[in-house]
């Protein structure tokens, strides 16, 4: 019996997984299950699905999905698309490469609040740029660069781009440079080499990069409050979840919104993976030759 189990990879070493499994259950599965159950026990409304019904019936709540997607999708798209040419140029070894990578990655270490503060100092109503413009007499009133949609989008790019860049760089490093050389000998110019060889091989990695930066951006909270317009155009879903739970003390509604948030993220991830499956028809593994 023991041998038969061992043939299927089941033996006592599997017990080593227990701490990890316990951790996952306590930290992730239990709160998730608790939240899910809680979301079906409305405090203010009547009926199992009442929280969800209320969310989708009230445009003030319902529209947060579109608002958040409207921030997260463009930010993730921009980060992925912008990271490709930068990473592509930085494949080879050159002097100062480490320094340049360090500078590009720096914003990751700063944290959203610091970046928001920096943006306000630079672009806020009394920031340097506006003061300069006023002094020069180019404008009569401060220009609203931040505290709106664009301010939040900008912070999402600043914090998300380094992630996308690092991921893309490592995916590019996994593509055998001999392939482009082979394509060159077969008559492919630089553009064709990129679009016919490197890009298709990079695409699966770009899909993953998009998903990760999207998920990061979708949970946007501090910058939506600090450099956004939390009552209006940047009323993202995490803000209404926070308000429900900690301002209206309706933990049940807060849980329901968190569940909706997760479902939307999962849906986007599923769409991206589906598209990726269609675009990349080759075997998923595939080593070097």
């Amino acid at each position: 019996m023991r041998r038969r189990l061992a043939e299927h990879g089941i033996d006592r070493t599997l017990l080593l997984l227990l701490p990890a499994v316990a951790f996952l259950v306590v930290i992730f599965l239990y709160p998730f299950g608790y939240g899910l159950v809680l979301s079906f026990q409305p405090e203010r409304y009547v009926g199992v699905f009442a929280n969800y019904e209320h969310f989708f019936a009230d445009p003030f709540l319902r529209d947060t999905i579109a608002i958040t997607l409207g921030l997260a999708v463009p930010a993730a798209l921009f980060n992925v698309i912008a990271s490709v040419p930068v990473a592509y140029r930085m494949r080879g070894a050159f002097a100062g490469k480490r320094l340049l990578i360090g500078m590009l990655v720096m914003p990751v270490t700063l944290g959203t609040v610091l970046i928001a503060k920096g943006l306000l100092t630079l672009l806020g109503a009394r920031g340097w740029v506006n003061r300069g413009l006023l002094e020069l007499g180019l404008v009569d009133d401060p220009v609203r660069f931040v505290n709106n949609y664009w301010g939040v989008l900008l912070t999402l790019v600043i914090t998300g781009f380094p992630f996308a860049f690092l991921l893309t760089l490592s995916y590019l490093g996994g593509i055998d440079p001999m392939l482009e050389r082979a394509a060159a000998t077969l008559g492919a110019g630089p553009r064709q080499r990129f679009w016919q060889i490197t890009f298709p091989l990079l695409l699966p990695g770009l899909a993953i990069t998009f998903i990760l930066t999207f998920v990061l951006a979708f949970a946007v909270f501090p910058s939506a409050v600090l450099v956004g317009e939390p009552a209006g155009e940047t009323r993202v879903i995490s803000i209404v979840a926070y308000r429900a739970a900690y301002e209206q003390f309706d933990a049940s509604m807060g849980s329901a919104i968190a569940m909706i948030m997760g479902a939307v993220q999962l849906a986007v991830v599923a769409v991206v993976l589906g598209v990726r499956g269609r675009l990349y028809r080759g075997p998923s593994g595939g080593g070097k030759g």
Partner: protein, 355 residues
């Protein structure tokens, strides 16, 4: 069906390449005629791949020129040279089927679809992969991948085919098969081929002419039999199998023939190089140094190692003066026995000067 070559001549004139202070290739001069099969031979790091990459346009030479039928290729990027290249790692496009891999070069040339399909079909037949056209490279064996790489390189009907150790990732049996295959394709398609290898046997069996390189410097250029029987220096001799090398002193020279002595041995052989006295290096192949053989050279050794080789035995031992020699015996020899190895003077080389 034998096609005429698509190239008259390719001339390399003082082709050199340095990487920083290190000279990878020093002034290679070579004139290749259409239809020739040239092998660049040498150990790894001798500059043979550098030479190939320069010709392919993948790296720029530090100095020297490459000209194709009188037209200089300086500054012509790889994609406009139109040479077919087979890489050591095959470099197949993993995201494309076998058919798409082979069609790639033709698509880049914007040939009509029907023509692409027809030529890809012919190339597939040529390398006997008709049944695998719709597979992906990772679903093929090493030998099949190798054939895809060759088909992809020759389907564009290149004037010149460059092969960089194409067989080094295959097992011994497949290597022999593919060798025959490459030679067949070369002849049938009227290709002009430059083939890089570290395997002297491969080079001898394939090439019309060999270029032996060492540390980027050309040692000898010539047809296989010339390199095999008349290596230009002790280095080439050692590389092509003259395993016995003994430093001696030349005592007398009469045209090509000479007498030398040293290490308690006397030898008579063919002198290579200038001078009629002074230091020489004696070089003999183990195959030519036979126990109980004939010839005017005789060396007595005490055997301390015997190796079975199928048809014969390789015997190794030391002379009374301690010089180690390696020879061949038709019959088994006991370890500790004293035997006389003999070699005809025509098979003994004496290189003048010190290497």
């Amino acid at each position: 069906m034998i096609a005429p070559p698509r190239l008259r001549e390719l001339v390399l004139d003082g082709l050199s390449r340095s990487f920083g202070p290190q000279i990878a290739l020093a002034a290679l001069d070579l004139k290749i005629e259409g239809g020739e099969f040239i092998a660049l031979l040498g150990p790894s790091g001798c500059g043979k791949s550098t030479a190939l990459n320069c010709i392919a346009g993948l790296i720029a030479p530090t100095s020297g020129t490459i000209s194709l039928d009188g037209r200089s290729l300086d500054g012509t990027p790889s994609e406009r040279r139109g040479f077919g290249v087979v890489f050591q790692s095959y470099a197949l496009f993993q995201h494309m089927t076998v058919r798409a891999n082979i069609a790639f070069g033709l698509r880049m040339r914007r040939l009509p679809k029907a023509q692409v399909a027809e030529r890809v079909g012919r190339a597939l037949a040529l390398v006997q992969l008709e049944g695998h056209a719709d597979r992906f490279p990772s679903q093929l064996s090493g030998g099949q991948q190798q054939r895809v790489a060759i088909a992809r390189a020759i389907v564009i009907e290149p004037p010149l085919v460059l092969m960089d150790e194409p067989l080094s990732n295959l097992d011994a049996k497949l290597r022999l098969e593919m060798r025959t295959e490459i030679r067949r394709l070369h002849r049938e398609l009227g290709l002009t081929t430059i083939y890089v290898t570290h395997d002297q046997e491969e080079a001898f069996s394939l090439a019309d002419r060999l270029v032996v390189l060492r540390d980027g410097v050309t040692q000898q250029i010539g047809p296989p039999d010339e390199i095999y029987y008349r290596p230009a220096n002790p280095y080439v001799a050692d590389f092509v199998g003259f395993r016995n090398a003994v430093p001696m002193t030349l005592e007398h020279r009469d045209g090509d023939a000479g007498d030398a002595q040293g290490h308690g041995l006397r030898a008579r052989g063919r002198v290579s190089g200038e001078g009629s006295s002074g230091p020489v290096t004696l070089a003999i192949r183990p195959d030519d140094l036979v126990v109980g053989g004939d010839g005017e050279n005789a060396f007595e050794i005490t055997v301390d190692a015997v190796e079975f080789r199928g048809r014969s035995f390789v015997v190794e031992g030391a002379t009374a003066s301690g010089q180690r020699l390696r020879g061949t015996s038709a019959t088994a020899v006991a370890i500790g026995a004293t035997v006389t190895l003999r070699a005809p003077s025509a098979r003994v080389l004496l290189f003048t000067g010190r290497d």
